[in-house]
């Protein structure tokens, strides 16, 4: 099944999922592009739209919200386990 993903700014490399997502579900953005979730992601949480290398900027609202603390693959759940403020 496909779940709505909300990306605010074209630069964003994460989107927020509007419903609970299971591994294998497609997350579909408003421009029609899709990313396949590689793991379960709770509603309201972030999914990586592309690969983000460890130390790389995680972008939401077109701004950096923190850095990846490990390599993140497209479709992965992004939260406290792989993203930190570290300003």
């Amino acid at each position: 099944m496909a779940v709505l993903g909300i990306r605010v700014h074209p630069r964003d490399n994460v989107a927020v999922v509007a419903a609970d997502v299971q591994a294998g579900d497609l997350v579909r953005l408003d421009d029609g592009s899709e990313v396949a979730a590689v793991e379960a992601i709770p509603r309201g949480s972030k999914v990586a739209l592309c690969g983000i290398a460890s130390g790389g900027a995680v972008i939401r609202y077109g701004e950096e919200i923190g850095r990846a603390t490990k390599d993140i693959a497209a479709g992965e759940y992004v939260h406290t386990h792989n993203l930190a403020g570290g300003r």
Binding site: V16, Y61, G66, G85
Partner: protein, 388 residues
């Protein structure tokens, strides 16, 4: 809506317009709390305000206490006031009366130690409040417009949807209010940490930009000093459960409430803006203290977004609660006034923004908010300078 944004309010002696006409019974010091509560028990038509602040505090904190209490007394939603003090406190009824002398507002005082204790003080204050309530009833109403309104912006119990639905929808309502000549206050300096870039782009002048930068950097340094490595996550547990990971992420969603108008002025906690349009106030992220600062500045209403659900209200100032998701709206129908979660089901941010502006107008015309119906009205003053 421009021609239609009209309501009947109460013009105060200082020229500002109230959308409520309350008789405030205010304890100037914590020791007088029991008396104002007793007056409210006997006379629920009054708005009673008590707080936990007393003597033995530093100059800056006492200054904030006086400024905030004086500002609340002068809020245009307040038509008349009974100040209740103990008698030996620093922030006495006389001091406060002096601070608001120029407001031209009917104001009476009761001092517990002078009238012979709590019961007599309550009797006296009740009698004064009854008379003032009677006088307020005969005050004429006048036509008010958006240009008479100053609206505080606040969020509490945010989730990831707050920054996607409720906050940008409030931002849209604020854009429209500002177009119509109104004023909105974006506050919560703690929740600007990590979001300075977009704020500076809205700054109208270099002076505004410099003050914004100084406020946010000072608050960030303070957070680092006190919280250490935890500063990057100044988030409540509910925020993290809601899907927010970092403070910058929360902040970027938070400032969306301000919309896209130029920031015309940056004021200190509790200070009255001198400009109309979008202004920024330096307040803590803690919602109750932040509301007190905006009410002291003269805000007649507050647009308050929430993702997790909070029942918070404020004395004399209607607080309009907007949910970021529809589940919350359904789960807490008696606390939430409007659901912005419908954005997730395809409604546009513009459309929800118009709904918010429409609700603001109805509240200005007298419709009670859920927090007013529930009698949710808690009061606290920022301490040690704005904190977090």
């Amino acid at each position: 809506m421009s021609e239609d944004f009209v309501f009947q309010g109460w013009r105060r002696a200082d020229g500002r317009m109230g959308i409520r006409n309350h008789c405030l019974v205010l304890a100037t010091v914590a020791c007088a709390a029991g008396v104002v509560r007793e007056v409210w028990r006997r006379l629920p038509e009054v708005v009673s305000v008590e707080h936990a602040h007393g003597c033995g505090r530093g100059g800056p904190d006492l200054g904030l206490q006086v400024k905030t209490l004086a500002g609340l007394v002068q809020n245009p939603n307040v038509g008349a006031v009974v100040l209740v003090g103990l008698g030996c406190e620093v922030v006495s009824v006389r001091l406060l009366k002096g601070a608001v002398a120029r407001s031209g507002k009917p104001l009476e005082t009761v001092v517990i130690q002078e009238v012979g204790g709590s019961r007599k003080a309550a009797d006296r204050a009740e009698g004064l409040a009854r008379r003032l309530l009677g006088e307020l009833e005969s005050l004429p109403r006048e036509r008010g417009t958006a240009a008479d309104l100053m609206v505080g912006l606040e969020c509490g119990g945010s989730d990831t949807f707050s920054g996607l639905t409720a906050n940008p929808a409030v931002g849209k309502a604020v854009d429209r209010l500002v177009e119509l000549g109104g004023t909105a206050i974006l506050a919560e300096t703690t929740e600007m940490i990590g979001a300075l870039g977009p704020l500076l782009r809205l700054a109208e002048s270099e002076e505004v930009a410099a003050k914004l930068k100084a406020n946010v950097e000072r608050q960030e340094a303070r957070a680092r000093e006190i919280l250490g490595p935890l500063a990057d996550g100044v988030l409540a547990p509910g925020n993290v459960e809601g899907g927010l990971t970092t403070i910058a992420e929360k902040s970027l969603g938070c400032i969306a409430k301000g919309g896209s108008s130029p920031i015309r002025e940056v004021v200190d906690y509790g200070d009255r803006p001198s400009r109309q349009g979008l202004v920024v106030m330096d307040t803590p992220g803690y919602d109750i203290e932040s509301l007190a600062g905006m009410a002291a500045a003269g805000a007649q209403a507050v647009l308050f977004t929430t993702g997790r659900g909070t029942p918070v209200g404020f004395p004399a100032v209607p607080v309009i609660k907007i949910s970021s998701n529809s589940e919350l709206f359904e789960a807490m129908p008696d606390d939430i006034d409007l659901d912005a979660g419908i954005v997730l089901a395809g409604k546009s941010i513009d459309e929800v923004g118009e709904q918010i502006l429409g609700l603001l107008l109805r509240v200005a015309r007298g419709q009670k908010t859920k927090a007013e119906v529930n009698g949710q009205a808690v009061f606290a003053i920022a301490q040690g300078g704005p904190a977090f």
